[in-house]
């Protein structure tokens, strides 16, 4: 069966150039980068080259970036590290309701440690209101952590404006840029960013490796204690092959970005408009304009997400859903709920995220299959019937 992968926001395949660049660092250049002989020097050199590629893609200096095990670790390191290091200044952190669990759960943990956290709401389009941010700031605020791009709905927050506000108030600003890095330009100088998290496996690099930008002079506690690696900020023998792969992925992203933004956003726009035309009672979630080039997230009225995903999978199409049933948790996506979506519409969401290997033919095929699936599931749905007759009697939460 031909498979069509449309879950690039979950993870991406390792680019063949990346894979090839990594290979020698498993067997040939296996040295521990902390040693001074030949093998160690080769590893060290490779790490520093990767660091340069990573820093360049952020507009940062090489001395300001470290390698981590991925987005989750970077978020944990940034938020806990800043919170503990700046305890004497204050105990207040501002974040948003849309954040990835890596940020939200870290903040919940810090609340138990005595920190106060404000979770800013967002509008129906998923965008943060800067006035809300300004009025949440107190003289105890030590950190603002707002994601650059959301993983579910692809909404882009006004990062540069947030950075300006933070800078003016002398508050540190962290952004989870895991979804934005590599697919849109990021500049930590222009955007006034103090800390920024990224992950390699979202940009055609390997899993289990990522990075954290920490602006020079930022007060932060180390995450891993041990050896001297990463200037003592993150101890532990480096994952050299992973770092090399990450560096290569950064290079490729920088090289192809402009072209890919154009190509992918064109495919996305066409797909969204065709989808909304072809299938009645479908709603796009999140702002249409402030959006990652590759993200499509829709709620389909009257039917549930997991049954759509399973049906798509039967047709060889890989996508995901914010329905509770696909996450194994009890609640539908906190992101969709934060947009004010009803439970029914939150359960009925599907996310298609496009990538390097997505073609127009793929998207046309998906549209066709998807509309058949929606028809089939709606025929199974008791909500479809009762709402069609205008006698929705199931407690007013329907469709609302």
């Amino acid at each position: 069966m031909k498979r069509i992968y449309l879950d690039y926001a979950a993870t991406t395949p390792v680019h063949t150039e990346v894979f090839r660049a990594m290979e020698p660092y498993f067997t040939k250049y296996f040295g521990n980068a902390s040693t001074i002989y030949y093998y160690g020097r080769e590893s060290k050199k490779a790490i520093e080259e990767a660091r340069e590629a990573f820093a360049r893609l952020l507009g940062a200096d090489q001395s300001e970036v470290i390698f981590t095990s991925g987005g989750t670790e970077s978020d944990n390191h940034a938020i806990k590290g800043v919170a503990y290091a700046n305890k004497n200044k204050g105990n207040h952190i501002i974040t948003s309701k849309l954040e990835h669990h890596a940020v939200l759960e870290t903040c919940h943990f810090l609340e138990k440690e005595g920190f106060k956290v404000t979770y800013l709401p967002v509008g129906a389009d998923g965008l943060l209101n800067l006035e809300d941010l300004k009025s949440a700031i107190t003289d105890k605020t030590i950190l603002i952590s707002i994601m650059a791009a959301n993983n579910e709905i692809g909404v882009l927050q006004p990062v540069a404006e947030i950075g300006e506000i933070a800078r003016e108030k002398k508050i540190l600003f962290h952004t989870d840029a895991v979804q934005m890095f590599g697919s849109l330009p990021v500049d930590v100088e222009k955007m006034n960013i103090d800390l920024l998290s990224v992950s390699a496996h979202k940009i055609y690099g390997p899993k289990g490796i990522g990075g954290l930008f920490i602006r020079k002079g930022t007060k932060i506690v180390s995450y891993m204690h041990g050896g001297e690696q990463e200037k003592r900020r993150r101890a532990g023998t480096e994952n050299v092959a992973g770092i090399v792969g990450f560096g290569k992925a950064c290079e490729i992203a920088a090289r192809d970005m402009e072209k890919e933004i154009k190509r992918i956003s064109r495919l996305r726009d066409l797909f969204i408009s065709d989808l909304l035309k072809k299938i009645p009672e479908v709603k796009l979630n999140g702002s249409l304009v402030k959006r990652l080039p590759n993200n499509v997230n829709v709620s389909v009225k009257y039917i549930e997400g997991e049954s759509m995903i399973l049906n798509l999978d039967m047709e060889g199409i890989c996508a995901s859903s914010g329905s509770a049933c696909t996450s194994g948790s009890l609640e539908p996506s906190h992101v969709l709920r934060a947009l004010g979506l009803s439970h029914e519409l939150s359960h009925g969401s599907v996310r298609f995220t496009l990538g390097k290997y997505t073609t127009k033919e793929d998207m046309d095929a998906v549209l066709l299959k998807f509309s058949e699936i929606v028809d089939r599931l709606r025929k199974l749905s008791p909500l479809y019937k009762s709402e069609k007759k205008g006698e929705c009697n199931c407690d007013g939460t329907c469709g609302g």
Binding site: T326, P382, C394
Partner: protein, 148 residues
Amino acid sequence: MESYSNKVMEHFKNPRNVGDMEKPDGIGHVGNPVCGDIMELYIKVKDNIITDAKFKTFGCGAAIATSSMVTEIVKGKTLEEALKVTNQSVVDALDGLPKVKLHCSVLAEQALKRAVDDYLKKTTGKGLGLPEEDAGHQCMHELPEELK
């Protein structure tokens, strides 16, 4: 999540007894959109025997498969036998369900009970004395004790 059994996938792909029923003798409606599952079960009864059953379901793969299975199980049963169908018998017939999906089998059992209840109320004026379905009810994702 644990994955679905082949039987569940088979019923999900080809659900039996889907759709509306002309003049059903009993209707069971359970679940609500907050929880993400709604089942509607329709039965025809003749001489105390369930001669036909159909369903419509809003929900995940397990919700659709359990609905399909319960309609299969119940056809040809007397009302008394139908009331003895438990969620476990639906789970067993499907070769098991992932733990997080067991609540779907509970919904299927309840939909059946309510359909019988509805039939009894209509024909004898006296139902099974089931509690009113509470519109603001708690989702049943919390498993009943015996399923834990």
